[in-house]
Symmetry: D2
Subunit: 339 residues, 4 copies
């Protein structure tokens, strides 16, 4: 860490900082500049007490960390990209798997129909919400266990692995019995208790980025899973919150490229949540391929007009087929393949 | 709801919208403007299916809700402000209670010492984190049960009621046995499973605003608690995330005034988290009084330099005493009183 | 416009709103809902006084516009995409032109060398800042007129048209004499006086998006140029400001797709400013092609280490050549061509 | 500056950085940590070339400045607060002046009437827009010169000094002939050409904060004025742009307290723009006093329903009188006085 003193800090103040740095387990290295003194603190920031508390000392202007503090998620420590397999489908290698299905599981008929068409169009895994995180307690909260059973039936019928969200620590076992990958949603991206419980299920984790999460924080949330001995984390960019009002979120495709420089974990994109508008899903999916994403998760509904959640962002089976066909040349350009 | 059609929408598209509005339980009322048609949908938006899904229909430009969708939290339905009592201390009336204590519970000595000084300075409740939500899994996670017991001992010694955060559904019972109010932190502000579990403990809930939460969403999270039969919710503004880098968060005092026009629930302010800098806590506290907040929660540590979390934002006992004395004339100006 | 009254608004309040709507030139159309009354105001929102002022009336909850208020920039009025030519180079059609060159013009040698290499790599226009907008008055402000003359000499030597920023109304004539397209920078995106002055030069305008500009506001700024009789506006997405700290800006590729649904004007992308990091420019450029951008503007410097501005985001000639070659398969996938 | 190398940077890479630091005028001071090397660069960052360009070197992870780079605006260099006088009215001392008047100048009658009532209620200066920055070119752009003459007439009649916005370098002389303080609006907060032109008029400058401006950037914009020899800058917080949709902006009262720790310049607050809602102006004004602002600028209109701009945020004369009376106890608490 680097402790920057204020202009005009006294000798006594500087010495107090040096003593405190030592007390907290670092080797202090003061450097006198033309106007300010800085004290470099030598030591591993990940095993010692943080020095950020020194910001409360008189004479201190700011404290700046110099290390990346995540370890297991970091590409520095693992230069090669990791491949995470979900029911045999590999994320992070040359393959570019697409996960598709309805926002919410609404009925067996809806899910079966969607599963068949998305499989035919090239999707490798089926998504569908059985437990739905809803801003309002009065909105449809999902079919819960019944929804999980419908998803499992769709897997039996089509062979597609299942990706579904878990909202409660208490439901982790139940969801893990039915699903092939557990999704942690954006609103729970820093629900550390849920992250740990999900990690301990042993299932692969799809970790959505929080609504205003820095990439560093996203990787720390992944680190919560990894440090529990579960190496199978797939990150999912799904848009961040900004001032724009014509879209629900601002899909941050740049964060995909950035995250891939920082971590060896696979990163996929959710263009449905990311834009919140069905008419932008196609362009966003192509963009995801081009910036280096490792897959997509797309909401598809047989009839979005009557969807029980997020109808505005779900594409129809016809639109999904069109999207998948249009993706092919971009995948080729990126040296990737659908299957 | 108001469904706005695109310029040049065809008669067939308009009729399809009208039929769909009817099918979803509303009475359609089309209005032909100079350039566009809009269809007003008459019916209670809180009991019918949302029409936002119609945004996926061809010819539809946007769908705009006109009702506030929260009920129990809404001031429209409850014009008078509510008073929430925590171990006898009233929030939301003429009293202006201050909650104070360390960010983390670190030791019995630290908590006892802090409890005594904050009580002497006028605080009415003691705060302290036993379970700590930390961005990194490698940071201090709190003393957990031992921390709760230390807090309870401090209550026994000083009479101050206890406010502490709960991070996991599984810990709700444990925390509720020791605490007088359960805090839901910013990162869990839309962890609906935790909100419901905490609500069902019957304890008052201190609901912090999420990092990029709209006021409407905050009230919906409150509604999750209220709709479970627990009327005792206190909202807490603690800063939102912006582009500013000199402070950790941007304390949104305007949201306090705004929230109080929308809801009858008490709203307090956390200037410690809100600014993330001890040197701004005093000014922010005065601002909170002036904009109409119903109380404060302030982090106080006997020696912030060695704090195990967030040392940069905790004030010393001396600074806290100074702050409380300086608050008095502002409370008087606002027609409030400390005790 | 739609005027939404408060729950419980009195008959007198509703009648006052109806009278005011009439007085301001609209035909009022009241609709009584289950809980609230709304008054639809029929009339062209672009020629009558706005009704937003009614929000100040007692009994009014909110006022919602239903029309797009821009005309000339709107795709509704001009469904086909426009092609804007800059010294013969077409933007907005099948061609995908790349503009390249240094952030700042520093010397004739630097510009000549850069111009030759970017031309050889396939760039169609040369960029370079002669007037530099700098956050600090103590930073390098550009070579000004000398810089313009260097750019003109580079055009004479290579045939590449010149794109350069104008910062002051007073410099519009000078810059227009030397440049083939005038750039309005992000910080001046709502400097309406400069927009009008630049429009009146008759030169094509490259309009960068402001740091926290909504797409609607961007199109209004374009409308300032178009409504002065200058139809040649190219929009440029260059990143918006968010909470992320690992990049300088958050490049909003989704806004490119969104803008192209709203407007017929060409939209290009600046991945250099957008990311602020040379190592992300390549991925961002590919993403821009895939989401449907109509071109790129990229900063290239012979030796970024000694650049007088923004060295961290400029690529070397070797990196630029690599980027251009790597773009080819993505352009083919998108049905576009470099030249 | 501190140059942080990547983990595993080679000896050759470290040496290249050291050479470059020297070449750019700094004295390099390498420090080998447990995992990374950092190179402290000793020298005045305000007179040497920035080292941020080194971020483009291989082996470099990041470059961190340690100095505040503004000089004249900095409180470090000028610990005592400055007092700026506008037609004799002092900002920055014990006095707390209120500037009031309509958003736009609409007619002589409207301005005269408003001037008289705001003066009677205790305002010290009159505001009013003669040149209006409007998002859309089709909205009312102000009465321009006629508006300035109306303002001057109101000054003659009431003795109140005039504060009005200037939008164009070409209008600086005209506006300076009529006004006592020139306002630079939020959209021009980084229009450096206008800042310089306004500075050179010799008039005091009211510098509004940009829509998503960091405090550091705001002070740099002030530095543009100060470094032209005009010491009379008053900063004005007017809300920043966030994700909240119930208010037009998010008034950042914390930034007032923060700015006052960083600069000696007076800082005032615009609660009308800041909230965009007349019903929040009163609470925001009290908050401004409490956090340490040096004055207010408030929009007052005889009849906001028919205002030609921003009717929703203007208060009536009656509301303004009420506001001013209610401010008195808060001013007393803060040790300030209205006049």
């Amino acid at each position: 860490m680097i402790v920057v003193l204020k202009t005009g800090a006294s000798k006594a103040q500087i010495n107090a900082v040096i003593r405190e740095v030592q007390k907290l387990g670092y080797r202090p290295h003061p450097i006198r500049g033309v106007e300010r003194t800085v004290v470099a603190a030598i030591g591993d920031e990940r095993v010692h007490h943080t020095l950020e508390t020194l910001a409360s000392m008189s004479g201190v202007d700011q404290v700046m960390p110099v290390q990346r503090r995540y370890k297991l998620a970091s590409r520095e420590a693992h230069p090669a990209g990791s491949v995470v397999r979900v029911r045999g489908v590999p994320f992070g290698g040359r393959d570019f798997p697409v996960i598709a299905g309805p926002c919410s599981v609404e009925s067996e008929k809806q899910v079966m129909e969607t599963a068949r068409v998305v499989k035919a169009a090239g999707a490798r895994l089926l998504r569908g919400g059985a437990f739905k995180p809803r801003t309002s307690p009065y909105e449809f909260q999902g079919l819960k266990q019944e929804g999980l059973e419908i998803l499992a039936a769709a897997r039996a019928a089509t062979g597609l692995g299942i990706v579904t969200e878990v909202l409660s620590e208490r439901d982790v076992d139940l969801v893990a019995r039915h699903a092939d990958m557990l999704q942690i949603g954006a609103r729970n991206a820093q629900n550390f208790a849920l992250l740990v419980a999900a990690a301990e299920s042993g299932k692969p984790i799809l970790l959505k980025r929080g609504l205003s999460m820095r990439v560093e924080e996203w990787l720390f949330s992944a680190e919560y899973v990894l440090s529990r001995g579960n190496p199978n984390v797939i990150l999912c960019e799904r848009g961040v919150r900004t001032f724009e009002t014509l879209t629900r979120n601002t899909l941050d495709l740049g964060a995909v490229a950035l995250a891939k420089t920082e971590t060896h974990l696979p990163v996929i994109v959710d263009p449905s949540q990311g834009a919140g508008r069905a008419d932008l899903v196609n362009a966003m999916s192509r963009g995801a391929v081009a910036v280096g994403a490792d897959g997509l998760i797309i909401e598809v509904h047989p009839d979005p007009r009557v969807a029980m959640s997020d109808g505005a962002q779900q594409v129809t089976p016809v639109q999904f087929g069109h999207l998948m066909r249009g993706l092919a040349p971009f995948l080729k350009a990126a040296g990737r393949r659908l299957a």
